[in-house]
Symmetry: C2
């Protein structure tokens, strides 16, 4: 197994190769490969193992009882799968995971994960950090979704980007259609709101570049004061 790839992943970052080898040997961890279209995990199946993607990518689909696909999420290697749902009571995969291409992964049974985390404090910290970051994103998105109007969501998101990029002029990270989907709103509605805010002089938007013109007003919007 190629340990050097693993050492570059967030989960095993900072570990010595020898240490990792020791752990994997003791836990009898093995590598599995999936061909395109193969299913790594079924929706609603209990999560009893940790799946770590080494190469390739996986498609997460939420299929309804009626058979229609609801939500899709793509996960690229190297990355863990459903790390947040490995523990807890009544923990099941929220989506069905299917290989989008030839994909290599290591699969570690839940009890072994526990042992592994006990064996190395760095590993434990990495695991906790990854979980927490995931949870933070979840929490942030929940906050966003809790906002009433598209205007507010835009305000919050733009201020966040501005803070993150350290400039009043921000570059949108995704196409606007994807942004609309992220907000959970229709694309034309998002466009309309951008147009309005521009007409009102709150922002200036050209292509993927958006400049914040009236920060105080945006802040008020984000606060829900308005």
């Amino acid at each position: 197994m190629n340990l050097s790839i693993l050492l570059k992943t967030p989960l095993f970052h900072g570990l010595e190769e020898s240490e990792l080898e020791r752990i994997f040997t003791e836990l009898k961890v093995t590598e599995t490969t999936f061909r395109k279209g193969e299913v790594l995990a079924l929706q609603d199946e209990p999560v009893n193992r940790l799946i770590l993607l080494l190469t390739g990518s996986v498609k997460g689909e939420m299929t309804d009882p009626s058979g229609k696909v609801a939500k899709v999420e793509d996960i690229e290697a190297p990355s863990p799968l459903a790390i947040l749902f490995l523990f807890g009571h009544d923990n099941r995969f929220p989506v069905q995971a299917t290989a989008r291409e030839q994909t290599a992964a290591i699969v570690i049974p839940k009890p072994s994960v526990l042992r592994m985390l006990s064996m190395n404090e760095t590993l434990l910290k990495n695991y906790l950090d990854i979980s927490a970051d995931f949870a933070t994103r979840l929490s942030r998105k929940l906050n966003l979704m809790s906002l009433r109007t598209i205007r507010q969501k835009l305000a919050v998101h733009l201020l966040g980007l501005s803070k993150q990029q350290g400039s009043p002029t921000v570059t949108l990270d995704k196409p606007k259609s994807a942004l609309a989907e992220y907000f959970g709103v229709a694309r034309p509605s998002l466009e309309r709101e951008i147009t309005r805010m521009q007409e009102e002089g709150l922002i200036r938007a050209q292509q993927k570049q958006v400049t914040i013109l009236d920060r105080p007003a945006l802040t008020l919007l984000a606060d829900g004061t308005l």
Copy 2:
């Protein structure tokens, strides 16, 4: 310090008292008391310690730059504070935590938490389970908030309650006004939707009792097929 209280909390459940004592002695964990109104944690302050409530309760407030209070959440002892945000990068308290009454808590610095979790596998599993359950709730609520219409939210929520209570007739856990707030919608809008669904024969609602009459239709709604 009263360890027997702690042993009943989810985090320390299943541990021997002697074991817990050993851990706390080694980590030099101490108990702190807060008077009513004292601040346990500031909003946006980096989370560098785990706060475990022993007795009393805490009020979580999200204050805006303008000084207005936005969201409130209450946490009763015994319970950990912001357990999900202890790790991760750029992890800060999402709310300001203020004691609502005389409150006792133990505060464990982040490095000590890591050591503690390394020392005992049961403790580690408890911690991971608690985090995961929290994340699951978060995820579930996010799903709910992602639904477009109030009708869908109601369908999902009712089906969930029905499954949980094991009966087609469910008892609402909160007053309808609180339910509306949980959904993030206006109360009259929720009432209207309940009325409509009753007129259409999907449910029968009287007071806090709601009976599911047309489960297939509700399921379709929940799937987003409709």
